[in-house]
């Protein structure tokens, strides 16, 4: 598919000056190097046994909008309808 082809292009076109391909949105290479984990990534002892209510995470100002729906707003559906029609045409065309 197109994405896979693009990926190959990226790895081949290392000579930036000589590239002819438009690579405006090249996907970032996965940053494996940074993904190193500290070995003992375990729950730490709290520095104190107890704390006041206002020191709780839940009492923080601005800590209210934490979760949102995964589906998008319906106003983008027109674009999608067009995309869908084109995709269907291209499949039909190949038949």
């Amino acid at each position: 598919m197109s994405g896979a082809a693009q990926g190959t292009n990226n790895s081949l076109s290392k000579h930036k000056d000589a590239t002819t391909q438009d690579s405006k949105d090249t996907p970032q290479a996965p940053q494996k190097a940074v993904a190193q984990l500290e070995e003992d990534d375990e729950f730490e002892d709290f520095p104190v046994e107890d704390w006041a209510k206002e020191d709780e995470v839940g009492q923080q100002a601005g800590n209210t909008h934490l979760w949102e729906e995964s589906w998008d707003d319906d106003d983008t559906s027109d674009d999608f309808a067009v995309q869908l029609k084109e995709q269907m045409k291209s499949v039909e065309g190949k038949r």
Partner: protein, 469 residues
């Protein structure tokens, strides 16, 4: 000799006001910041030959010390074991400091501390030590675990460098066996402390039951490290069975509550009991100390995949921005789900695989794929628009088109990179129907496939439950 006196002052003061936390600082292997040389001074205060006599004078014949006979002899035992332990600990630390880390005998340190803990244990089981002293048990368990880990690590390095077993390198036979000897032993010792607290029949206000959650938390931590997570469930069952005779969780210090909720949540999460996991983790998050960044991040590491599964909701940017690790871990996945891009999702799962597996969230995140499919099919449904208004029914509600050709779903899957191609530029229709049927089966979508007509008939009332259409 005078330098050593602060320790005894603290001991007397702690008894005067029944301050268990102050008492615990006296037998802690980490000297208090106010008295950094305490362990050295204690060691120099006496010698192995006269330690018994010196302690007896301090504890039994000291007019300032108002311990009864039983208490005095219990503390005499504890302090003699503690004296031996301090000697071993200081020797190990010294070896470490002069660059002879290999000679530091952490196994002896562990055994020495274990003796102190046993003496404490006897003090409680005989009913001599009162409940206000239980912070000593927190310290006992905490350092059992710490020294056990050090001992196992040093055994492992010695083994690797051939110091043990005469340099034989039979990897399969030796390396896998007994890697965590001391830590497993520590788990057993901490479990004894747990039983000691659980079986206390004294009235609640003076009960060792106040040490239950802190001890349970230590057990969880230890079992997680040993990869014996199933044993956590035994602890949880004991707590549940004894709940009627225990103070409510909300009466315990927040540190105990939050840690307990975190581990209970993760255990439920790994058990795929996501509703329970969500409850515990959400409550742990809300109550967590806001400056404890690592703990906040760990709670969210499990709460985010849980929420994705239970309510199909994603963290906001603001939530992820709190920690660079969280951002790195979850942003690509969330982006893929939001943009219903299956290909990006697969790439994100692959790129993060090692870290996801390590944190045991891979399988749960995998189910984000179902959410993408749901959102994608939902987009198809919305793009289909509305049924033409029927004549003579002016003013009635407009209805979305509920008969959607399978072909449209197929096209959407192609756009999203679902890998439903038949290899010849067309679409594998069976594969598409399978994905649609799955989505219906999992209750993401309500309707049925009318195969002979090649359409999906969706429910007129809420085709995509919980998403407003």
């Amino acid at each position: 000799m005078a330098a050593q006196e602060t320790m005894w002052h603290d001991f007397i003061d702690a008894h005067k006001v029944a301050d268990g936390y102050l008492l615990a600082t006296i037998i802690t292997p980490d000297p208090p910041a106010s008295d950094p040389a305490r362990l050295y001074n204690f060691q120099r205060w006496t010698n192995p030959y006269s330690v018994q006599t010196d302690l007896r004078y301090k504890l039994q014949y000291n007019p300032e010390m108002r311990l009864d006979k039983k208490e005095a002899s219990t503390w005499l035992e504890i302090f003699s074991d503690y004296y031996k332990f301090v000697g071993v600990l200081l020797a190990a630390e010294e070896a470490n400091n002069v660059g002879k880390a290999k000679e530091a005998d952490w196994n002896a340190v562990y055994e020495g501390w274990k003796d102190v803990v046993s003496a404490l244990h006897r003090g409680y089981s005989s009913g001599t030590l009162e409940a206000w002293t239980i912070p000593c048990l927190y310290v006992a368990g905490k350092y059992l675990r710490i020294f056990a880990i050090k001992a196992d690590e040093s055994t492992a390095t010695q083994r690797d460098s051939g110091l043990v077993f005469g340099g034989i390198q039979e990897e399969d036979a030796l390396v896998t066996v007994g890697q965590n000897d001391k830590l497993e032993d520590a788990a057993r010792q901490i479990n004894r402390i747990f039983a000691l607290c659980l079986n206390d029949r004294s009235p609640l206000e003076e009960s060792r039951k106040w040490a239950l959650y802190s001890t349970a938390n230590l057990l969880f931590k230890t079992y997680f490290r040993l990869n014996s997570i199933n044993l956590c469930k035994t602890v949880l069952r004991s707590l549940k069975a004894g709940a009627a005779d225990m103070p409510p969780l909300s009466a315990f210090p927040r540190a105990h509550q939050v840690t307990f909720k975190y581990y209970s949540g993760v255990v439920a999460f790994l058990d795929e009991d996501y509703a329970t996991a969500e409850q515990f983790l959400e409550s742990a998050y809300a109550m967590c100390l806001r400056s404890a960044a690592v703990n906040v991040r760990l709670i969210l590491t499990y709460l985010i995949p849980t929420k994705m599964l239970t309510s199909h909701r994603l963290p906001t940017q603001a939530l992820l921005k709190q920690s660079p690790q969280l951002e790195r871990l979850f942003t690509p996945i969330c982006f893929a789900i939001r943009s219903t891009d299956l290909q990006a999702f697969d790439q994100a799962m692959e790129a993060g695989e090692d870290e996801f597996v390590k944190r045991r969230i891979y399988l749960t995140l995998e189910r984000g794929r179902d959410v993408i499919l749901r959102n994608l099919f939902r987009r198809v449904f919305i793009a289909g628009g509305f049924e033409p208004a029927k004549e003579g029914e002016a003013g009635s509600q407009v209805v979305r088109r509920t008969r959607v050709p399978v072909k449209e779903f197929a096209a959407a899957l192609m756009i999203s990179g679902a890998g439903v191609g038949d290899g010849e530029g067309g679409v594998d229709g069976d594969e598409v129907e399978c994905l649609v049927a799955n989505s219906i089966y999992k209750n993401f979508m309500k309707g049925y496939i009318a195969r002979e007509r090649g359409i999906v008939v969706l429910s007129k009332g809420g085709a995509f439950p919980g998403t407003g259409v």
